[in-house]
Amino acid sequence: MPQYVAFTYTEDLDWTAPEQADVMVEYDEFGKAAAAIIRGGAALYPTTTATTVRVQGGKGGDVLSSDGPYAETKEVLSGFYLLECTDLDHAIATAAQLPAAWLGAVEVRPVITFPER
């Protein structure tokens, strides 16, 4: 079965803060309901903790790290789920159950399966 990553895009929030408790309960409920197809995932700290890394001048060049996320946007990448679904319709229906789908948006992307070498 194909795998998808569902990226959650939401307001840039600290999910560990007490005022997020209600939303986190909703995520827990999602996690239980979709347990059979969740293959992994993570919630992320706010983008104030992000560091963007680039190497200048090709491989082995200077490492330039800068404070902040790769893209400055109102809604930021706040977490992801790795889902195993029957097809895109299944993945979309599952993503629609994520709180981020109504608090922000969820981007669903198919995962590449590289042939074994």
Binding site: P2, Y4, C85, T86, D87, L88, V108, P110, I112, P115
Partner: protein
């Protein structure tokens, strides 16, 4: 979709394309790969067009095409050495050659293909292009010409679409009952856009553009064939047939558009009108509770189609259909058309009052033009000129601009 001058050749091309898309639908199910299936069917249709003029059309053209396409698909699959389990399975299914599929299976294959090409996870322009390429069987170059997109851009768009269908695993299946109404509206929107692209094409454009009308009608007929009881399909086909019945009367000898009120109604296609009216009736019987917007629009088109002259139009009926339409599809343009009907039924002042309360059409030339026509009828020529000038100042196609310029001249001499 080139139109060869030889009618026998044209009929043959038509036959091969119509049968080809059915063969394609089945082959996509068997191989699970749209690109592969398309390549195989493309090869089979080329062979048919070479062979059949010499040998005559075989008694079972679809079986012939199916066999040729299956052989080609097997060749293509075997040629790719890195193929894994699923493809090997496809080869074995193809090899078995069980072309004795039941009609329901063929019907469902066609439905699956339609819903895949019109999947909501594809952008709307992509769905329109895929419909022309895959469901109508046009070449990529033809799709580009018909939709006014450079061929290279179109190639990229279609390649990306097929890539997404494959990698994101857009399902090849008929939507479940609870999803069907929404998904069907998505399909209808694609077909109706194709129709309108063709309908609004003007003289001097690539002949592929007006031919989009025929492609859209063919697609709607196909939808009707595979989903005979769906109100929106009945309404869509009826609406397009009723509008298309006026094709010959819509343009003057110089290619200038002729307004509905001034068309020579003897040139309307009675056969299409009769068919459209029957479909409207069937559509209305199937949606007594919540009328389908396509069915209601078709009912309005039927009122016009059945009127012997513009003056004898049953405006009471037209107006009440617009009221029904507003209850399910309330847009400023529907309100504009309703106001025109009010103007016919209750006079220019009443129509003008309706027009003037519509908000959001200040940038729409036809709103200004409708106001101008009513003002002209009310002998308020000065205001009519101002309104025509406002319409002319807005962006629009050249044909419409020329028409409005003539109307402005008429208002100036009124």
């Amino acid at each position: 979709m080139t139109r060869p001058s030889d009618p026998a050749r044209a009929a043959l091309v038509r036959l091969v394309r119509d049968e080809g898309r059915r063969v394609l639908a089945t082959l996509v199910r068997v191989t699970g790969d749209l690109q592969l299936a398309e390549d195989a069917v493309q090869d089979a249709t080329v062979r048919a067009l070479e062979a059949w003029p010499r040998t005559g059309v075989p008694p079972e053209p679809r079986a012939w095409l199916t066999l040729a396409a299956r052989r080609r698909a097997i060749d293509l699959l075997r040629r790719e050495s890195a193929r894994t389990g699923k493809e090997a399975e496809a080869v074995s299914i193809l090899d078995r050659g069980d072309s004795e599929d039941a009609p329901e299976v063929l019907r469902d294959d066609m439905l699956r293909l339609i819903f895949t090409c019109c999947h909501p996870s594809l952008s709307f322009p992509t769905r329109v292009a895929l419909a022309l390429r895959t469901l109508c069987g046009l070449s990529t170059a033809e799709v580009g010409r018909a939709l006014l997109v450079p061929e290279a851009t179109m190639t990229k768009r279609l390649t990306r679409a097929k890539e997404k269908i494959r990698t994101a695993a857009i399902p090849y299946r008929v939507p479940a009952d609870h999803e069907l109404p929404d998904r069907l509206l998505g399909v209808a929107a694609v077909v109706y856009l194709l129709f309108n692209e063709g309908y609004s094409a003007t003289a001097g454009e690539d002949p592929l553009r007006p031919a989009l009308v025929d492609e859209a009608v063919r697609l709607a007929r196909l939808l009707h064939e595979v989903m005979p009881g769906e109100p929106s399909v009945l309404g869509l086909l009826a609406l397009m047939l009723l509008q298309d019945s006026r094709r010959e009367a819509r343009h003057g000898p110089d290619g200038q558009p002729v307004l509905l009120a001034e068309q020579d109604r003897r040139r309307w296609r009675r056969d299409l009108i009769a068919e459209g009216v029957v479909l409207v009736g069937a559509g209305l019987r199937r949606c007594p509770d919540r009328p389908d917007p396509y069915v209601v629009q078709a009912a309005i088109a039927a009122c016009h189609a059945l009127a012997p002259t513009w003056e004898e139009t049953d405006w009471t009926a037209v107006l009440s259909w617009y009221d029904v339409l507003l209850s399910v599809h309330d847009t400023p343009v529907v309100r504009l058309n309703r106001a025109v009907a009010v103007g016919e039924l209750r006079g220019g002042l009443a129509g003008l009052a309706e027009l003037d309360v519509i908000r959001g059409l200040e940038g729409y030339p036809l709103w200004h033009a409708a106001r101008a026509e009513l003002l002209l009828r009310l002998k308020r020529a000065g205001e009519a000129r101002t309104a025509f000038a406002a319409a002319l100042a807005l962006p629009q196609n050249g044909v419409q601009h020329a028409h409005l310029s003539r109307r402005l001249d008429a208002a100036a001499s009124a």
